[in-house]
Symmetry: C2
Subunit: 133 residues, 2 copies
DNA sequence: TACAATTATGTAATGTTATTACATATGTTG
DNA sequence: CAACATATGTAATAACATTACATAATTGTA
């Protein structure tokens, strides 16, 4: 009941956990956080994550095997192209952004070779301004 | 003895397997392929992979949890910036490329925010020209 | 050569991430 | 209600990766 309707109970619980977190969470960490809400098995988490990914409400960070709430929930964040992430290796903070030029360059490359893109991952691992200081 | 010197026996075996493969391989698949060469445990593979990554002879594909031989081995492929991959979801074929403009755009973004990049992942999953036809 | 230091290897056990299979429940539609 | 689709609960297993500890090979140097 904390977020957007059209979500089932489990989906809403998982999304809530991700929204309240300031760093990406693995499926098993989410599971632990939801034990008190009746979660018992990984599949309960993975099923909710799958639906939330479909709806564009969360993202999977491939280089971390972890998940974050979309930083632009509600709007067209993911409808205007590929999303990129800058991920701090020290504090775990994630910045989500979008760059049209990058999108276009990658689209040009694939188009020139007849490659049909389905999903693009851009993840920059490093140190955020605070942690690098 | 099949490839570049300065490699140990295990490193050379693992690199050989990756070079002969036309698709990315997981660590456990590599292990299976090297049973006849005395490999018994995952760690033998992971240790060799770590060293090969350090030397820039292979790449890890984060979205697949798998590894490929560098397409530009020998030269400065990885010294001239971030490498990107187009990965076919149907046949597994991987194309490795580099785009200066993409690099610069991402560098501009991070620099503007004081983020210090350490490793950047760019992976485009989709269908190669052959498979999309 | 002898020795110490470093690097590489072998093996077992364990930890982490993700899926398959099957049963039950809930909601929607005609 | 019946039929269908969607969501959930649970157990077991598969796939990916690391820790811990012991041994061997290599390298540098007194
Ligand atoms: Zn988003
Ligand atoms: Zn940080
Ligand atoms: Zn390369
Ligand atoms: Zn293909």
């Amino acid at each position: 009941m904390t977020s957007t309707p059209t979500l089932t109970k489990n989906q809403d619980l998982v999304l809530g956990v991700l929204k309240r977190s300031d760093a990406p969470l693995s499926a098993y960490v989410i599971l632990d956080k939801l034990r008190d809400n009746g979660f018992r098995a990984p599949l309960q988490v993975y099923r909710a994550l799958d639906k939330l990914l479909e709806k564009g409400l969360i993202h999977r960070l491939e280089s971390l095997n972890a998940f974050v709430a979309c930083a632009h929930s509600g709007e067209s964040c993911c409808s205007h192209g590929t999303v990129a992430f800058a991920i701090c290796n020290a504090c775990g903070h994630v910045m989500e952004f979008h760059d049209h030029t990058v999108d276009h360059r990658l689209a040009d490359w694939t188009k020139a070779r007849g490659f049909k893109p389905e999903k693009t991952t851009i993840e920059i691992r490093g140190l955020c301004a605070s942690c690098a200081a």
